[in-house]
Assembly symmetry: C2
Homo-oligomer: 244 residues x 2
């Protein structure tokens, strides 16, 4: 059978370092010995998309929906056969994005929940490290509910540390002390009963991992890259609604 | 004055690791404390573009011109205000690409020669490490000629080492021994009179640098990223023909 190679469209720039990390993960996950065996990606690294957090939390930010929809249409028009959004918080706006294009759009929470069920089928409680906005959307809670997995989020003080860490990563200034504080927040979720931790913000895998959390980790950006490569190389026809 | 932020279009995938390296260099070169201060990039990582080398050397490869032109038009249609090609060898096809779009297309050899003149104005001889095809095109020789800089290329055996190294990087298997051989080829250019070395293939900065060459190095991918960021943030109108 001829190798199928679909083009992966990336609604990127949220933030740019997370988009770069996603791109690198796709390259690492692709078995290729020469250029032509790699996958085509159309990346719209569009950091001009307004900040997702304030808009979700009703803190007066500009609505990012029009920019997200326009970026989805750009990568579709450029040739994407499937679309990913390497930003957890942006999935609050998943429905309008999905409806704006004809190609499937992967849903990062659904992919993480699916990967968790495969890797740790006996998991009952999972910790969630992400932006305050991502936690507030309840999207991980919704994705894990059918599997009977409870989602544990940090307390208010812990969440404030994680938000500071995420914005520091975006600013390129996440120092050792702040990283250690963030890791401690994750370890406390383990002490509270979480059997694993979701890195539910695509900036966090840049500084957190099993090495400093001491728990199994679900890296949402890696899981999204794995799902994208699997679908881009699948001999099966693509389902219209990948995340549904 | 309002900050000008133009969109950088990238004709990528030649190879994908060099495109990733270009993307990372642009992010590092952009002073940004939050997502929205970064630059928008439209990256068509299109590794399906046929191999440039055999086509240039008359060794029977498929002509990459149609795919290069189509990729240039894709990034232009997606919103690029200027276009870069992070692949030296592909610049053999610069003219048809430039003619296919309305926005400026940077010329990597012109940018390297300009940067070399600024950094080492007394330079008389420069070594060139690149694919056999890039050396054969004479594009670096042509770019450096107006400055009276002579381009020294490796001998046949040395060139064969560099070609093996480049294709090994693309295959993800450039081991220590081959890297050391490649560095030795570069150092021999210094012994032959070169006052600096051009890394004239965007894969080479991934394994070679001043640390193992012992000579000033012009990293063509870094210089291209610097030129792109400079133009993308310049308050001046863009010249139509950046590389001319």
């Amino acid at each position: 059978m001829r190798a199928v190679h679909r083009t992966i469209g990336v609604i990127g720039g949220m933030g740019p370092w997370a988009t770069l990390d996603f791109f690198e993960k796709v390259l690492r996950l692709t078995p290729a010995r020469r250029d032509q065996e790699h996958l085509r990606l159309i990346i719209d690294n569009n950091p001009k998309i307004p900040d997702r957090g304030p808009a979700i939390l009703g803190e007066g930010g500009e609505d990012p929906t029009p920019a997200l929809v326009a970026t989805a249409r750009t990568v579709e028009a450029a040739g994407a056969d499937l679309i990913v959004i390497p930003c957890n918080t942006a999935h609050f706006f998943y429905e309008p994005i999905r409806r704006a294009v004809r190609v499937p759009v992967l849903h990062i929470m659904e992919e993480v929940a699916r990967a968790a069920a495969q890797r740790l089928p006996a998991l009952r409680r999972v910790g969630l490290l992400g932006t305050r906005a991502t936690v507030a959307t309840g999207l991980y809670q919704k994705a894990f509910r059918p599997q009977g997995v409870e989602v544990l989020a940090p307390d208010t003080a812990g969440q404030a540390v994680i938000d500071r860490l995420i914005y520091a990563i975006k600013a390129g200034e996440a120092g050792e002390a702040l990283r250690a504080e963030g890791a401690a927040v994750g370890r406390r979720l383990g002490e509270a009963g979480a059997g694993a931790v979701v890195l539910g913000c695509t900036e966090l895998p840049l500084v957190l991992g099993e090495h400093n959390l001491g728990l199994p980790v679900f890296d949402s950006n890696l899981i999204l890259a794995q799902a994208a490569v699997r679908l881009a190389t699948s001999p099966q026809p693509l389902p219209r609604e990948v995340g549904a």
